[in-house]
């Protein structure tokens, strides 16, 4: 890459990271509800203006998506440093990022492969319960997180056969039934704590417990800061993974399967194999997010994984626009942060989300920001 390109890339990345960081900081630090509203309106206006005037796509293009990811990661680190001793904000950030990772898993399943999964929360729960059970056993915690993902994928594989044999609403029914079944099973079953759930000790890395507050480089960091850093790392890794999958032959195959199964089959693409791949990758991502989330909160109960929660995950996907990663991230942030920051709407949040999704589906079914078409030669747009 020429020096000029590199320079432009660095500047664009810095610009994007700085603006995003500032907006996020303003949102998180806002005290009064009026400020929150103003920041939200300002952010929406900025993004809309950026898209309209084509400034935003050009900046992203100049920076190159990998650099943007790195820039956003740095912005995340800076935010953690800024809110170093505010457990509430750190918790909020970490939660939003973990929900983002879970939604990325759903994204691979629904947006890429076209397989509907209404049991996303159940797989999140599988990851959490795995972390709860294995975490006590002395297994090193990074392995526990991987095991959470593997367990979610394994449980998901139980549904593979039914999901492969059914289409459309029948497949949707299978995942809905599974979600309900899973929660009821957890509630009735004593071995996994029953309705009271299980408690988890925190994440421990090489003897370093993430739960404790710690003094680093002269600054007092709340325990949640480390979880937040872990969440940032996980989110970056997940986005990178999903992008790579989409840009690879796997992505092309998944697109073919989604768009027209019969045509894809005619061209020799094995529908079964690719759906299995999408389901497994997606569930693994959801499971890992669930495991880290459970360790962070320190508690897990069947009530966290109701059908309602699965619908929230699917809503995030729809609100951000199916197929749009940036939209997904924005939707995840708004869905998780807004009810917390605007107390009056806390109670009304499910009503609000469902009405918004219905409006989006009826008025703009392609999502608030349209999905880009894959260009067969040259780089993938968006």
């Amino acid at each position: 890459m020429s020096l000029r390109r590199a320079g432009a890339s660095v500047l664009s990345t810095a610009a994007i990271a700085a603006v995003t960081g500032l907006l996020l900081y303003a949102f998180l630090a806002a005290e009064s509800e009026r400020t929150v509203g103003l920041v939200l309106v300002g952010a929406v206006a900025a993004v809309a203006a950026g898209l309209r005037s084509r400034v935003l796509p050009r900046l992203v293009g100049a920076a190159g998506p990998p650099a943007v990811l790195v820039g956003l990661g740095v912005a995340g680190l800076v935010l953690v440093r800024v809110f170093h001793d505010d457990p509430f904000v750190l918790l909020l950030m970490a939660r939003a990022l973990l929900v983002l990772v879970a939604c990325l898993g759903l994204h691979v399943q629904l947006a890429d492969a076209g397989v509907p999964n209404f049991a996303g929360a159940a797989f999140f729960g599988v990851g959490g319960y795995t972390a709860a059970v294995l975490g006590r056993g002395g297994l090193p915690h990074p392995l526990v997180l991987l095991a959470s993902g593997a367990a979610a994928a394994a449980v998901g594989s139980l549904l593979l056969l039914p999901l492969l044999r059914t289409r459309g609403h029948y497949a949707a029914l299978i995942t809905i039934a599974f979600g309900l079944l899973f929660r009821t099973f957890l509630e009735v079953n004593e071995t996994l704590g029953g309705p009271q759930g299980l408690k988890l000790g925190g994440l421990q890395l090489l003897g370093w417990s993430f739960n404790d507050d710690r003094r680093l480089l002269g600054v007092e960091f709340s325990g949640y800061a480390f979880y937040c850093l872990a969440a940032v790392a996980l989110a970056l890794a997940a986005v990178w993974l999903v992008r790579r999958v989409e840009r690879s032959w796997i992505g092309v195959a998944l697109d073919a399967v989604r768009l027209d199964e019969t045509a894809a089959a005619c061209f020799g693409i094995s529908i079964g194999r690719w759906k299995i791949a999408a389901l497994t990758i997606g569930n693994a991502l959801i499971g890992v997010a669930g495991g880290l989330s459970a360790m962070m909160v320190g508690f897990i109960a069947p009530n966290n994984f109701t059908f309602q929660e699965s619908l929230v995950l699917v809503s995030i996907l729809l609100l951000g626009g199916l197929g749009n990663l940036a939209g997904l991230a924005a939707a995840a942030l708004i869905v998780i942060w807004l009810p917390e920051k605007l107390q009056p709407i806390q109670e009304y949040r499910y009503l609000l989300f469902s009405v918004l999704v219905v409006l989006v589906l009826v008025l703009r079914p392609t999502g608030l920001i349209r999905r880009s078409v894959r260009r067969p030669f040259g780089s993938v747009a968006g």
Partner: protein
């Protein structure tokens, strides 16, 4: 409801500002209870009582600080409870908390409060493990535990001549705890537990359990759980033609239980620790002041405890300052402190001993103290006597 409280608080604030007094710092107290869902009546009663304590304290010119109640809803669900507990604990401006009626939630948030260092006093949850499973200096409780409740219950029912029970309990630690302790005391006194059924806390249909129970032919059906389930089980008992006496725990002592059953609630027996508000040492005072504030809900069974907990916290903060750590140290030394529920002493696990256990029976659509009822005097009879 929310608005009238806010208006009242603002009015009080304006009043205080108008008085020629020095400006006081505001100290925040958290109140957590089930404000929505099947147990909301009790939760709202507790909230109003805590709010009463704060209002009266703020009206007292001798108080060093201005207190503000931050109200959070745990929906009687452990996951929501942990979420709001984390929120309260993470909020540095909240100095202490008056927490929980539902035992399921209280037992889940013990770790959270310990981790975030927020001193709390439980106002309504009766599960012993909340204070006794760990020795966390943050956790305290003003009301009693279910152990004494079940001992008295067994004694009274055995005295009435009942010998054969079927126990239906919810599968949370609360229900299982009642099952364990009641079985222990009833069998020790010569009773027989013919059958034991666990049901989920949101179960709708009890045909399976009740049909089997009917076959065992018990004299009493003991229910360990909360009001919504109690209402369903009692109603379905009638549908299936089961004529046994229904006995419950503190979980069903609420007006919603009677409202939900109408005439079917007549003759139901229940037990709870602590005396009803009128019989408490500070009861009359509490009820008078409560009525003055014109809250839309009654204080219910645990209102006085919520009031006492809030008052104790505020008095402690007045003495030692609004710092969580010093409050925790001060609470450890609470001995024979006067309150409307009697003298409060926290033992080494933060548990207050409440001597009185009250037996209650539903008579003519109201919970009446057993000793004052016509069932005790013999004018009316329990089922099968």
């Amino acid at each position: 409801m929310h608005w009238t409280l806010a208006v009242r608080r603002i009015a009080l604030l304006v009043l205080l500002v108008a008085l020629p007094a020095a400006a006081k710092d505001t100290v925040k107290l958290a109140f957590i209870g089930p404000l929505t869902g099947g147990n909301s009546a009790i939760g709202l009663g507790g909230r109003n009582s805590a709010d009463l304590a704060v209002t009266l304290k703020n009206a007292d010119p001798k108080s060093r600080y201005q207190y503000e109640l931050v109200v959070l809803d745990d929906e009687c669900k452990p996951d929501t409870g942990v979420q709001v507990a984390t929120k309260a604990g993470a909020d540095r401006s909240i100095v202490a908390g008056v927490t929980h009626y539902c035992s399921v939630v209280a037992i889940a948030t013990v770790e959270t409060f310990h981790r975030l260092g927020l001193p709390t006093i439980v106002w309504g949850a009766v599960l012993p493990d909340i204070t006794y499973a760990n020795k966390y200096p943050e956790i305290h409780r003003v009301n009693g535990t279910m152990i004494n409740q079940n001992e008295t219950a067994a004694k009274l029912m055995l005295k009435q001549g009942f010998r054969r029970w079927v126990i239906i309990h919810d599968t949370t630690d609360y229900g299982k705890g009642h099952d364990k302790y009641f079985t222990q005391y009833a069998t020790a006194g010569g009773g027989k537990i013919l059958g034991d059924f666990g049901v989920t806390a949101d179960q709708q249909d009890f045909t399976a359990e009740l049909t089997q129970a009917k076959g065992l032919n018990p004299e009493v059906i003991f229910f360990g759980g909360l009001t919504p389930l109690g209402v369903r089980i009692r109603a379905q008992m009638d549908k299936l033609g089961i004529n046994a006496q229904f006995q419950g725990t503190s979980g069903i002592v609420s007006d919603d239980f009677i409202k939900g059953l109408g005439p079917l609630a007549e003759g139901v027996v229940a037990f709870r620790e602590g005396a009803p508000a009128e019989k408490l040492p500070g009861g009359k005072f509490f009820l008078e002041k409560y009525a003055e504030q014109k809250y839309p809900n009654p204080p219910e069974a645990y209102g006085p405890f919520a009031y006492a907990a809030a008052k104790l916290l505020m008095d402690t903060i007045d003495k030692v300052g609004p710092d969580r750590k010093t409050v925790i140290t001060a609470l450890a030394g609470v001995k024979n402190v006067d309150s409307i529920v009697g003298p409060i002493t926290f033992d080494d696990h933060g548990q207050n001993t409440v001597a009185a256990i009250t037996a209650l029976v539903v008579q003519d659509g109201k919970w009446v103290v057993w000793e004052d009822s016509e069932y005790a005097s013999g004018k009316r009879k329990l089922k099968g006597r």
